[in-house]
Amino acid sequence: MPPIVKIEDLHKIYDSGEVPVHAVRGVSLDIHQKEFLALMGASGSGKSTLMNTLGCLDRPTRGRYLLDGVDVAQLDKNELADIRNQKLGFVFQGFNLLSRTTALENVELPMLYGKRKMSSKQMRERAMHCLEIVGLAKRFDHMPNQLSGGQQQRVAIARALVNEPQVLLADEPTGNLDSKTSIEVMGVFQKLNEQGITIVMVTHELDVAHYCKRNLILRDGVIVRDELVQDRSIAEIELAKLKEAETAAKLLAAGSPAH
């Protein structure tokens, strides 16, 4: 099978400022279906720039980018937007949910646009299904301010899934979350990945990257390391361990004699 993402000698130079910034300096990369990839590297190493290019949000200065076999450089603005909406889903660090709007309506949002014609009942069912996938179906009518950070991010993931993308792109999806909630979100990603969705995420936390299958390290706009994760963490197991430890701590606290 051909790779879903293929980039060859990609460069990105920002020359809007006084000095041009060479943010990505010749990256070549194949990502195949069902891969689960973490992009790591220091701040300013070009991770977000690379992700924006993968997401067709920004055009490369030089190099080729084939998304599912289509050369992105040949597309005009509208075609680019179409391919983006068909093939890609986006998750952000700040969850970017609409605050006046329930979880379900937030998930429905991407379906309101574009050409796809669907009845509102169909949209509702589709959105509900995506909320089920992330385990939040019961909270469909909650407003974002009634949900925890982890729950909000899961709603955002459901929103990214609603157009049935092949690739999920996530720039620091756990950046605003505590460690336990991060594991829960990684669990959602692992489940999605098992169902066949390709995931590319940016993180600077090593233990978060350890839930992925493949780790890339970027330095000064160049890939300096690309390796498969050995002995990767499984969110379900880690969460069970955490729960066990919590229960043990509680028992201990309850069992200790009162002074």
């Binding site: 986006f90 970017n96 605050s99 006046r100 709007t101 646009y113 301010n145 009634q146």
Partner: protein
């Protein structure tokens, strides 16, 4: 003592103290100056004497205030949407809005009387002119200060400008809009009063509180003048209370400034 009780008792105590002070000052004034500060019971007497007149005037002023305020809301909101469309539009129109805001209403009044005649129409227009600026400025600010990430998300999903306005910008602007609405609500009765004072008419049943103020002061009916002031305050309170209730109803379910207790 429970807080609730204090909340009620303390203002009541202060009020009683002020009334006592009031009577004290009245008694302390020499006989020929006492008319300057009528006692509360004299003011109540004025209410009894001029009740029907005051009620009618209050209704008239209330009508002018409400209509002018509503007009300001409608026009202000539409103008804010227009201004939010682009920085160029704002640059072009803001100076004129400022000039309009800077011109004292008093100088408009004779012109308005010339154009539309004294009476309700003039009162409504003057109220509108006073209310409309804070509404436009606040609403525009709300419409343009929406989270950039959200805007990018909408563009990413190819939402239309219309969807962006309706689903993103207007909801985000609501808290700002209600701030403008509240400011306008405190200004509306004042605007109607000033309008009535400068461009009102007693033709038919048309006189409002501003007009009564003129009459009572020219007739030296000072307790009635104080009663008119009290009624004006009450009208202002009514307006602000209505807006606060409205804004609570619109915002409490989702906005952070109203915390929700249910899970």
């Amino acid at each position: 003592m429970p807080r609730r009780l204090l909340q009620f008792l303390l203002p009541a105590a202060v009020g009683a103290l002020m009334i006592a002070l009031w009577y004290g000052i009245h008694a302390w004034l020499s006989e020929d100056l006492r008319f300057l500060l009528p006692t509360p019971d004299a003011i109540l007497g004025a209410f009894r004497e001029h009740g029907a007149e005051l009620a009618r005037a209050t209704l008239n002023t209330g009508e002018g205030a409400l209509l002018g305020w509503l007009l300001a809301v409608a026009v202000g909101f539409a103008l804010a949407v227009g201004l939010s469309l682009s920085p160029l539009v704002r640059l072009s129109f803001y100076p004129y809005l400022m000039i309009l805001q800077m011109t004292p209403i008093i100088v408009f009044a004779p012109i308005l009387v010339l154009w539309v005649g004294a009476g309700l129409k003039s009162v409504v227009i003057i109220t509108f002119l006073i209310c409309f600026f804070p509404l436009v400025v606040n609403t525009t600010q709300g419409l343009i200060s929406v989270d950039r990430n959200q805007v990018e998300l909408f563009r990413l999903y190819r939402a239309s400008r219309w969807q962006e306005l309706w689903l993103l910008r207007i909801p985000a602007a609501l808290p700002y809009f209600f701030t403008g609405l509240r400011i306008a609500a405190t200004l509306a009765p004042i605007g109607a009063l000033v309008g009535d004072y400068t461009a009102g008419s007693s033709a038919g049943d048309g006189g409002g509180l501003g007009f009564q103020t003129l009459i009572y002061s020219s007739q030296a009916k000072y307790p009635a003048l104080f009663a008119t002031a009290a009624v004006t305050c009450a009208l202002g309170f009514l307006f602000v209370a209505a807006v606060l209730a409205l804004s609570w109803a619109a915002l409490h379910s989702w906005h952070d400034s109203y915390e929700r207790n249910d899970q």
